[in-house]
């Protein structure tokens, strides 16, 4: 009897509760005049700790533990459902989908189930209204340029991969960060700085009406340093560096942190002294990480599957399948199954995407030919199947996104050879100098039709390279800009050392962790424009306790 009572008191696992609530809801929804053809429930549980230290002391310590619910509801048929993009006035309809918190304790069974039922109900009623508009939209508007089904029906995936807690000595890290932050702040020319560590465990539970049942997740740690200052010309200059790893034992030790802090400050001071660059067009080398971000912005976003079917998208590469878009020595693929590459952990690693598809490699460019797109479960003509790139941040509907975008070259050059190519091209074009970009700070691109179909890569460290024997000259205040087809047409050679950029990418489905891995690449011509500049004078008084000069 006692044993029975104990068993009764034990909470059902979250995934069982999701399954049973989905089943219960479907019994009702199946009887509706417009039943859903698909419902997916995802609970994203985040346990994260964020530490920030400034000026030798702990600045913030945030412990976050939350569970967020996503209900992906599709009313209609897989061919045409409520998620279909609307055109015209109908596209202005309000969407209430947002962050839905769930209780953290599985034993609070009623609270959990009632919140699930409420969210399923709300998403259903919204989708049932939506599909009416979708159908009318189809009747009234012209045929779409790239008609395709709205959803790929798949065999359900099942799996349970335990996700361990992060074993981090955060108390010890507080001290490490405090000391590193003191190091960052020591120079009076540094106006603001911090050292940070974030540890994030994400556990995902997923069930759907096809029978999928998945438990998986990721662990991530990021240690970062940031310093900033204001130049005499008002330029807000900052240097930000981060290291992303999956396990605590890969984090840098204190000595490495201190050395890293010194290097970061040195970079800032060099930039403070550096002149601002000028608008430029000419030969350019993008070193590995910069090249990775370049491919992410210029190619990666343009091969996201859903962008090939929306009529408001630029569709730069939609009709290029089987055609040359890059030199024949370049391959590009996206492989979220890669946990590491080039000796570094990759941010874009995952086991299953947000639509319950097991992670797999997606080939994009083979020998310079476009061979595929990043696909979620939204088919496009000629590409009917997901390749596990349907991704989202909790609270958003998934769309196709990058994971680990990898650029490989079958013909490579050493860094010295690339530089020689650069110098030769400077001479051939008769320009004063070429540019080598070492560090970038992210970027963005516009893939639609209203805005220019252009990209911008924020350049943090760029060097002017002269052919007359002058040493390379660091410049600031310029960003790489351009349009994709012209830029790719000017790619001449690639280096032999891939480097990893780890970051977070924001798009329609929120922020997702990504990586871009690429060797250095040489372009015969790229363009730079002036970076936006601050207008504030440097502080009127010196930093307290200093005379404002160099330490």
């Amino acid at each position: 009897m006692l044993l029975l009572l104990l068993a009764a008191a034990q909470a059902a696992p979250l995934i069982d509760t999701l399954s049973s609530e989905l089943d219960r809801a479907m019994k009702v929804l199946a009887q509706q005049p417009e039943p859903p053809h698909y419902v997916g429930l995802t609970v994203t549980e985040n346990v994260s700790v964020n530490l920030t230290a400034r000026e030798g002391t702990l600045f913030r310590e945030d412990d976050v533990h939350q569970r967020l619910l996503d209900v992906d509801m599709r009313v209609g048929t897989p061919q045409l459902d409520s998620t279909h993009p609307l055109r015209g006035m109908s596209s202005w309809k309000a969407e209430d989908r947002g962050r839905t918190l769930l209780v953290l304790d599985d034993s609070a069974d009623y609270a959990l189930r009632s919140a699930l039922a409420r969210e399923i109900d709300e998403r259903y009623r919204e989708a049932a209204e939506g599909v009416v508009m979708v159908r009318a939209n189809q009747q009234v508007r012209v045929d779409e340029e790239s008609p395709a089904d709205d959803f790929e029906v798949r065999q359900p995936a099942t799996g349970s991969v335990p996700v361990a807690d992060l074993d981090v000595d955060y108390d010890a890290w507080e001290q490490v960060l405090a000391r590193a932050s003191a190091r960052l702040d020591a120079d009076p020319r540094v106006h603001s700085s911090y050292a940070g560590l974030s540890g994030d465990v994400q556990r995902i539970s997923f069930v759907d009406t096809e029978g999928a049942r998945l438990e998986h997740g990721t662990t991530r740690l990021r240690v970062s340093l940031r310093v900033s200052s204001t130049g005499e010309d008002g330029d807000e200059i900052e240097v930000y560096h981060a290291v992303d790893v999956h396990e605590p034992d890969k984090l840098p030790d204190e000595d490495a942190m201190v050395a890293w802090a010194d290097q970061t400050v040195a970079e800032l001071l060099a930039l403070l002294e550096a002149p601002r660059g000028q608008p430029y067009s000419g030969p350019v080398i993008l070193r590995g990480r910069a090249a990775g971000v370049f491919f992410h912005e210029v190619l990666g976003h343009r091969v996201e599957g859903h962008r090939q079917k929306r009529d408001d998208e630029g569709k730069t590469f939609t009709e290029y399948v089987g055609k040359q878009i890059l030199p024949p020595f370049i391959d590009v693929y996206d492989d979220p199954t890669l946990e590491q590459l080039a000796g570094e952990d990759l941010n874009g690693f995952y086991l299953y995407d947000s639509e319950g598809v097991a992670a797999m490699r997606a080939d994009i460019v083979d020998d310079g030919l476009l061979v595929g797109f990043l696909m979620g479960r939204s088919p496009i003509p000629g590409f009917e199947h997901s390749n596990s790139h349907g991704r989202r941040q909790a609270g958003y509907a998934p769309v196709s996104r990058m994971g680990n975008l990898v650029v490989e070259a079958s013909q490579t050059r050493s860094e010295e050879q690339l530089r020689a190519l650069l110098l030769a091209e400077i001479r051939a074009q008769g320009v004063e100098y070429g540019i080598i970009v070492d560090e970038i700070g992210g970027g963005f691109t516009s893939t639609g039709r209203f805005q220019p179909n252009a990209f911008k890569v924020h350049t943090n460290q760029a060097w002017k390279v002269y052919v007359d024997g002058r040493p390379d000259e660091l410049v600031r205040g310029i960003d790489l800009v351009g349009t994709p087809l012209v830029a790719f047409g000017n790619l001449v050679a690639a280096g032999d050392q891939p480097l990893v950029f780890n970051g977070f990418c924001g798009a329609e489905s929120g922020m997702v962790p990504v990586s871009a891995v690429a060797p250095s690449v040489f372009f015969s011509k790229l363009e730079f424009q002036l970076k936006e500049k601050g207008t504030d004078r440097p502080p009127l008084l010196p930093k307290p306790g200093t005379d404002g000069g160099a330490s």
Binding site: F59, D63, D96, A108, A111, D121, P539, K543
Partner: protein
């Protein structure tokens, strides 16, 4: 001029605090050295050093949604350039010489110095430009009362409040949330708890050196119920106390939550209001507090609105601007029936979270006789002058790093005479006869906009006219004493003059609410706001209009809530 030395012996200790000493060092440095050629002088600089322990918890029907416990430390600055007669403040736009930044969870003198340096540099530059914008585009009227009141310094060390037990508070929120009944019609049954305790240090260039305690523990229980026709009804309970030990016993709060939710479920089962009613309305219990809170208090907060800055995106500031305030103040006008009076005294209840000895600008507070014989004689003031007033009365409250307006704290509305429930109803019935009715409406509680957004924001009800939110508890009271509860009514066309139409006052009731941080605004968050105590009588209003709230059948749930486990 106000000069106060509250605790001289303790003053040395405040200055000895290394963080305060670092702040004063920066105050003096900036006062002496911060300068731009040909710019108007910096004549007033004030810092607010906030050192708090902060807890936030959310719980739903017996389960924890989130919990956080961390220090909340910050530094606020107010820079004024020009002269008290005309300075850089009180003009629209956000670059106004004021600001607030977070301080480390473990602040050091170095971090205080550096943050003060960064913050003040920015604020000073903003103030210089703001002064130029204001002087270039606005001509003060001849009777402009000035922009700031210089005062003799205040020195006071009133101590600090100590934080509560995080685990105990978390468990309390979860336990309270378990008190909601497990009823399928209850869409939301959540409890939110906010707790903060610590101190605020105020130092300025006039020599003010004040440390005052700050503490508040607020618990808001929120229920949303869906009616059969699709209407969403909301109700809530708020406990706001100085210290967690001042909370009622958990069992008492659990009982109140269960009763509130059960009551709301019962209301949802009652008939919907179908008629348009014009006639007398009785405001009982919390409804009386909400009536005065919404319709009276804005008329008593006197800080004038900021002068609008005409920009290409429209006017910034004016009646709707950040920290505007005072737009509705009715100095010298009748706001209540003859014989009524209103007083605000932040020391009326020294155990209430609205209490203070010294206001947020460091001014010793005073009791203020706001209304006499129904007419506004004084208004609540900070150090921002208003024509027709004699300056601050120590009621500056609000968000640090913003312009601090005069706000209500502990307010008492006193009628000329009280009458009992029975007589109030009898009088109402007599009035109703003039409208050809044998019944009146009685309201016991109004919905609170602060909880409309809970549970995904689906509680937003009838917000076209939030002058007075819709009733929760609306009762049709017949002349023979019968009562019929109805739901789905909203007030229509309510104007502040409704208070002049009060016919009779009943028994005194008391309530606490969290006022929006911006005067005249609306708080949409269950925990954000300034605790305010209001004592007022239940009242009979001669005429009000109540109309049906239309239900949308599209809001009727398709997927039913789960049944509770046995």
């Amino acid at each position: 001029m106000i000069a106060l030395l509250l605790t001289l012996p303790a003053l040395a200790a405040l200055s000895d605090d290394p963080l305060v000493a670092a702040l004063i060092e920066q105050l003096e440095r900036n006062q002496e050295q911060l300068h731009i050629d040909d710019a108007p002088p910096l004549y007033h600089l004030r810092y607010h050093l906030l050192l708090m322990d902060s807890v936030e918890v959310g719980a739903s029907q017996g389960g924890l949604l989130y919990a956080s416990h961390s220090p909340f430390n910050g530094l606020g600055v107010e820079v004024r350039v020009g002269a008290p007669e005309l300075d850089s403040t009180g003009f629209g736009g956000w670059e106004d010489g004021m600001g607030f930044v977070s301080l480390p969870v473990e602040p050091t003198p170095l971090t205080v110095r550096n943050e003060a340096w960064r913050l003040t540099d920015r604020a000073y530059k903003e103030a210089v430009e703001q002064y130029a914008r204001k002087a270039a585009t606005w001509e003060p009227p001849p009777d402009h009362p000035g922009d700031f009141q210089l005062l003799a310094p205040t020195t006071a060390q009133l101590g600090t409040a100590h934080g509560g037990d995080f685990e105990a508070l978390k468990q309390l929120a979860v336990d309270l949330s378990a008190a909601f009944p497990r009823d399928p019609a209850l869409e939301v049954g959540q409890v939110f708890m906010g707790h903060e305790a610590g101190s605020q240090v105020i130092v300025d260039t006039e020599g003010t050196r004040v440390q005052r305690p700050r503490s508040e523990t607020s618990i808001r229980a929120v229920a949303h119920v869906r009616t059969a026709s699709g209407l969403l009804l909301t109700d809530q309970l708020l406990w706001s106390v100085l210290d967690p030990s001042d909370l009622p016993p958990a069992s008492e709060m659990e009982g109140a939550i269960a009763a509130m939710a059960t009551g709301l479920l019962a209301i949802a089962c009652q008939p919907e209001l179908t008629e348009e009613y014009v006639g007398p309305v009785i405001f009982e219990d919390d409804a009386a507090i909400q009536l005065f809170r919404e319709m009276l208090v804005p008329q008593l907060e006197g800080t004038p609105p900021v002068v609008p800055f005409d920009t290409w995106i429209g006017e910034l500031g004016g009646d709707l601007g950040e920290g505007a305030g005072g737009a509705e103040a009715r100095l010298g006008r009748r706001v209540l029936p003859p014989g009524w009076s209103v007083v605000d005294d932040p020391r009326m209840d020294p155990h209430h979270p609205a209490t203070f000895e010294v206001d947020a600008e460091g001014t010793p507070t005073q009791a203020v006789d706001l209304v006499e014989d129904g007419i506004v004689r004084q208004v609540l003031m900070s150090r921002v002058p208003r024509k027709g007033t004699s300056g601050t009365n120590g009621h500056a409250r609000g968000q640090l790093g913003r312009r601090l307006p005069g706000r209500a704290s502990e307010l008492e509305v006193r009628p000329d005479a009280h009458t009992g429930h029975r007589k109030l109803r009898k009088q109402a019935a007599q009035l109703a006869r003039a409208y050809g009715r044998d019944y009146v409406y009685l309201v016991r509680r109004l919905q609170d906009p602060a909880v409309f957004g809970v549970g995904g924001g689906n509680g937003v009800v009838n917000l076209e006219d939030v002058a007075l939110p819709p009733p929760v508890y609306l009762v049709r009271v017949y002349a023979d004493g019968r009562e019929e509860i109805v739901h789905g009514g909203s007030f229509s066309g309510v104007h502040r003059w409704v208070l002049r139409d009060i016919v009779a006052a009943g028994e005194e009731v008391s309530g606490t609410y969290l006022a929006p941080s911006t005067p005249g605004g609306t708080s949409w968050d269950p925990l954000r706001g300034i605790p305010t105590l209001l004592r007022a009588p239940e009242v009979l209003v001669g005429e009000l209009e109540i109309v049906p709230t239309p239900a949308d059948p599209k809001d009727i749930r398709v997927v039913p809530a789960p049944q509770a486990s046995p």
